[in-house]
Amino acid sequence: MFNLRSTPKRKTQAPDGQAVARLLDELKVKYFANPAGDHFRAFFDCEQATYEVQVLAMPRAATVLVTVANYLRVSRDHPATDDLMLRLMEINWELPLGYFGWRSASERIDIITALRTTDGLCSDTVGRTISWLLGVAERYHRELQDMVEF
């Protein structure tokens, strides 16, 4: 997907958008940035699907949010919603890093990780986090799709 081994270690303090952009550049990730330069979108072709990864720099909160965005969509009145929510909460227990969250207003389910940046952030961490979240997305893709497409 991208070469983590050649990534130089680089520390920053509570990175802003520019610093996050540099980290993504080091990882050779192709991304789209919003005009404010603090919100990044990248697309990854994996075996089962193409996933949208979003990275949001929040320097005032000393946080960088990394998400697999729009992973699933399910409405509140969908017949599988109740079972899906139970299963996702169960998966959240199994995951050492990252979790599923649901925005009922937009019916959107993301896989989310908040990286605390009080002690800096390096491209290794960002790269491993993206790889981990994509691995989670792939692992549960078929099972969860089947639940909402029955």
Binding site: M89, I112, R116
Partner: protein, 150 residues
């Protein structure tokens, strides 16, 4: 709630259990280390309830897991299990730090946060995470317990 004081600088790499204990000492928190030396146990008296927290330190895999144990007890056959899991998934979306997770085998719901510690971890970051998790627990305590009442 916590005497964070002046934040110590981050450890140069993933901290071990002793380093995390030193941070807790720096915050004047009382704690116990379990018999196997793998987890740190703490108790907190908050506005809405008392909470038991445990901290797992995995230096090898570079993460620290902070969790409130037995925040809720929701067996799979609870009459409101679907309502509570749906609400917890919505809450997960809103959280900037922490997640709700559920073990269907024994019904335990935890509030948890995982640090990635490749970049080290400082006392200030740990204290902020502990405070944030306790704030989340207290913020949603009444609402979530009300959902569980018959």
């Amino acid at each position: 709630m916590l005497g964070l004081g002046r934040g110590r600088s981050a450890t140069p790499g993933p901290p071990d259990l002793q380093a995390v204990c030193k941070f807790l000492d720096g915050m004047d928190l009382r704690y116990f280390v379990d018999g196997q030396g793998k987890a740190i146990l703490l108790s907190f008296e908050c506005d809405k309830a008392d909470y038991d927290m445990f901290i797992l330190v995995d230096q090898q895999h570079a993460f620290v897991y902070v969790s409130l144990a037995r925040y809720l007890q929701v067996p799979r056959d609870h009459p409101n299990v679907q309502a509570i899991m749906t609400r917890l998934m919505e809450t997960n979306w809103d959280l900037l730090l922490g997640k709700f997770e559920w073990n269907p085998n024994d019904g335990e719901v935890r509030v948890a946060f995982t640090f990635t510690t490749e970049n080290g971890m400082g006392q200030k970051a740990l204290g902020a995470a502990i405070s944030a998790i306790l704030d989340v627990a207290d913020k949603y305590y009444i609402e979530l317990h009300a959902i569980l009442e018959p």
